[in-house]
Symmetry: D2
Subunit: 226 residues, 4 copies
C-alpha cells in the first residue's frame, strides 16, 4: 500500500465511467504510474471498489477509495467498509464527493475513522463555507469543487479564482495543516499551474483525463507546468 | 465467472463482518467451495465489493455482489456499477437486502439491468406482501427474510412457517418461474430441510455460518439433510 | 374531513410551487371546490403539509397529503406522521410520488397504515412493472406517471396509450379493486377523456392547472368532456 | 409571527409524539405560552408541519419548524418548503436534528436560506467537532446533543459538562455571535441552570416536558432556577 507523502498531488477520480472500469481501470492506473515515474509528479488514483485490489496489486502509486460508508464491521450488507478497502490496498479515500454527499455527522465519523486507520482523508466541498466546515474536522485534504463547474471543462482556478483563494485562506485560518485541492473543470497544465499559484496543494480531476483521447498525453500535459 | 445453474441453493452473505473481509473472506469462500465439492450442494458466496475480484479468481463457485446501485456508467463517484462487479467476476447480485433497502423504481431498474447482463437477481423482501410485489418484477429469486428474525438464530421456517408457505404460494401464483429463498435465522441442517419442505428453493444466510466457531462444520451440517 | 367516494376523480397535486403555497393554496383549493360544485366532478386537492389544516377547514372537497413517512408516533423530529395529517384534515395521501420515491418495504407499511386509518392511498408508479408491484400491496389507487412525461405537457394518454392500457390490464389482473389514475402531462379535457377511454378511473395532475394563467378555466376545460 | 429576540431561550421540540400532535399540540403550545407569560422566560415551540398554522394563529410565542428541505419552490412533491412554513407562521426552524440528519452542503444551503428569510436557524450537532463545523456556517444557534443522551433523562450538562464547555469555547472561537443551546437529557431546573452556568444560551428539549405527567409543572420547574 503506497501512501500519499508529498504535495503537489494529482488525484485522478475514476468515477464509474466504463472507460475506467475493470481492465480499462487497470490500464489507466498503469498510465498514471508511468507518468508519475517519468515526471516525478505525485499521482494517486481512485478507482471503483471492485477494482481496488487488482490495481493496488499492480501499481506503485497511492490508491484511494471513492467513498466509504459510516459503518463499523458487522451486519451492513452492501455497505463499503473502510477495513475492507484498506485490506484491498487503499491508502485513503475520497469523502463527501458531490456525487456521494454525506451527512455532516457521518463526514466527521469517517474522517476520524480514516485518520485512525492511518489512511488519507480527502473531503470534497462545494463552496467556501462548507470548506471551512470541513476543515474543522481535520481531514488531510479539502477538495473544493463548485458544482456548476464539475465536468464543464471550465477550470475553477480560472472561472472563480476568488473561490480558490478564499478557500485556501479560510481553511488555513482554521487549520494550517489541512491541505487544499482544486477540483472541477481542471484538465490542462495551465489549469493546474493556476490552481497551485492560487495556493492549492494539488488537483482532483476526472473526465478531463479519463475521457481524453489519449489519457497519458493529457496527464503529461497536466503536470507539464509544475 | 460461475453461474447459479441449479437449486436447491445456499447463498452465503458475507455482509461486512471482519470475519468475512479480505483474507478471511477468501478463506471462507474456499471453505464454501470445498463443501460444495464434497457434498455436491450448490453454494454461492456474496462478499463485499472490494473482495469480489480476488475471490472470483480463486474459487469455482458462483460469486454474487451484495448490492448494485441503480446507475448506468458515468459520473457516479462511489456508486456500485453493475458492469464493474460483473467484470470483477460476479455472476449475480443481492438486491434490496434488509440492510440496504431500495426504492421500488430502483429495484425494478436493477432487476432489469441484472437480467439483461445475464446475471442472477436475488431480491430480498420482508413479508408476504412485498414478496408478491417483488415477484411481479420477474427476478430469478425472491428471498423472504422477516426482519425480526434476522440474526436471531430463530429460523423463519420454524418460527413462521406460514410466512414461508404463504410466500411460496403467492409468488408462484404471480410467476411460477420465480424461485423462493428462505432467509433470517437459518443455520442448521434441520432449518434448511424445513425451508425446502415448505417449498423454498434454497436459503440465504450469514451469521449462522460466518460467525460459527467452525464455518466448514456449520456449512456441512447445513446441507446434511438435503 | 371529506372522503373520496366516487370516480372518475381529479387529484390536483399542489407540489411546492409558490403558486400553490399558503394563501394561494387556499385560493386554488376554493377554485377546485367551485368547479367540483359547478360540474359535479370529483376533485381532490393535495397541498403541502403546512397548508392542510387551513384548507381542510375551509373547503368541502377531499384533501390529501403529498407524502407521509413510514414512522409511528414517537421520536421522529421532522417526519410527517400520518396521525398528524389526518387530524389536520387529510382523508388520504399520495405515496411514492416520483419526487418522493420510497423504499418498497416503506410503501407497503404506509399503504397498510393508511388503509387502517380509513384514509385513501394513492401509490404513484413509473411504468407497467412497478404498477403491478404496487397493485399487489392493495392501495386504493395506483397512479401511473412515466417520468419522462411529467411536466412535459405531453399527456401519457396520447404519447404512450399502451402504457395506460397495459397498466390498467395488469393491475386489474392482480386486483380488480385497485383503481388506476393517469398522471404526467395531463392538462386538457381531451387528455382526461383519452385517459378514461383507456380505462383509467381518473387523473393526477399538477402544473397543467396550477401554473395555468387561469386555473379555474383550465380545471373547467379538464372536466368538460366527461 | 413572533421572533426569538432574547436569550436564555427554551425551545420545546414536539417531535412526532401523539402527546404533541394536533389538538394536544395546541394545548401544549398554550401551556408554553402561559409559562412564558407567567415567568418572563423566552419559550419557543417546534410542532409538526401540519400543526404550525393553527398554533401560530393562537399563541404569541415563537413557533419553529422541525425541519425544512433544501429545495426551492417548484416541483418537489412532499418536501417541506421554507416559504410554506414561514407563511404558516414559523419564525425559524430546527436544522439537522439527530432524527433528521442532513448533508453538509444542504445544512449550508438551508442556513443561508433561513437567514435570508429573516428566520431563526438552529443547527443541531452531536459533538464538539461537528459543532465547530456548524458554527462556520453562521447559524443563529448551534444545539449540541450527544446522541447517547437523547431521551435518556441524563442531562448533558451533568454527564458531560466538558462537552458543553468545549462546545461553547470552540464555537465562540469561530464566531462569537453564534449562540449555543444544550440538548439531550435536559428536564429539570437544575439541568437548565447547569447548562447556562457552563456558558449555554438556552436549552432544546422534548420528552422531559412533553411526556411529563404535568407538562406545565415540568416547564415551570425547568425555568425556576434562572
Amino acid at each position: 500500500m503506497k501512501q500519499i507523502t508529498r504535495t503537489p498531488i494529482v488525484i485522478l477520480n475514476f468515477k464509474t465511467y466504463l472507460e475506467s472500469t475493470g481492465a480499462r481501470a487497470m490500464k489507466l492506473a498503469k498510465v498514471s504510474e508511468e507518468v508519475a515515474d517519468e515526471t516525478g509528479m505525485n499521482i494517486a488514483v481512485s478507482p471503483q471498489q471492485a477494482d481496488i485490489w487488482r490495481i493496488a496489486e499492480e501499481v506503485n502509486i497511492p490508491v484511494l477509495a471513492q467513498h466509504v460508508d459510516p459503518v463499523d464491521a458487522g451486519g451492513h450488507t452492501g455497505s463499503v467498509l473502510l477495513e475492507a478497502v484498506k485490506e484491498a490496498g487503499a491508502s485513503g479515500t475520497l469523502i463527501n464527493h458531490s456525487e456521494q454527499r454525506m451527512k455532516l455527522a457521518d463526514i466527521d465519523a469517517v474522517v476520524k475513522k480514516t485518520v485512525k486507520a492511518g489512511m488519507a482523508s480527502v473531503v470534497c466541498t462545494n463552496n467556501v463555507e462548507t470548506s471551512a466546515a470541513a476543515a474543522t474536522l481535520k481531514p488531510d485534504f479539502v477538495a473544493i469543487e463548485p458544482p456548476q463547474l464539475i465536468g464543464s471543462g471550465i477550470p475553477v482556478s480560472k472561472a472563480e479564482p476568488e473561490v480558490v483563494e478564499g478557500t485556501v485562506d479560510v481553511i488555513h485560518g482554521i487549520d494550517p495543516d489541512v491541505k487544499v485541492l482544486c477540483g472541477a473543470g481542471i484538465s490542462t497544465g495551465e489549469d493546474m499551474k493556476a490552481a497551485l499559484d492560487l495556493g492549492a496543494d494539488g488537483v482532483l480531476l476526472a473526465s478531463g483525463i479519463i475521457l481524453a483521447d489519449d489519457p497519458k498525453k493529457a496527464l503529461l500535459d497536466l503536470v507539464s507546468r509544475i
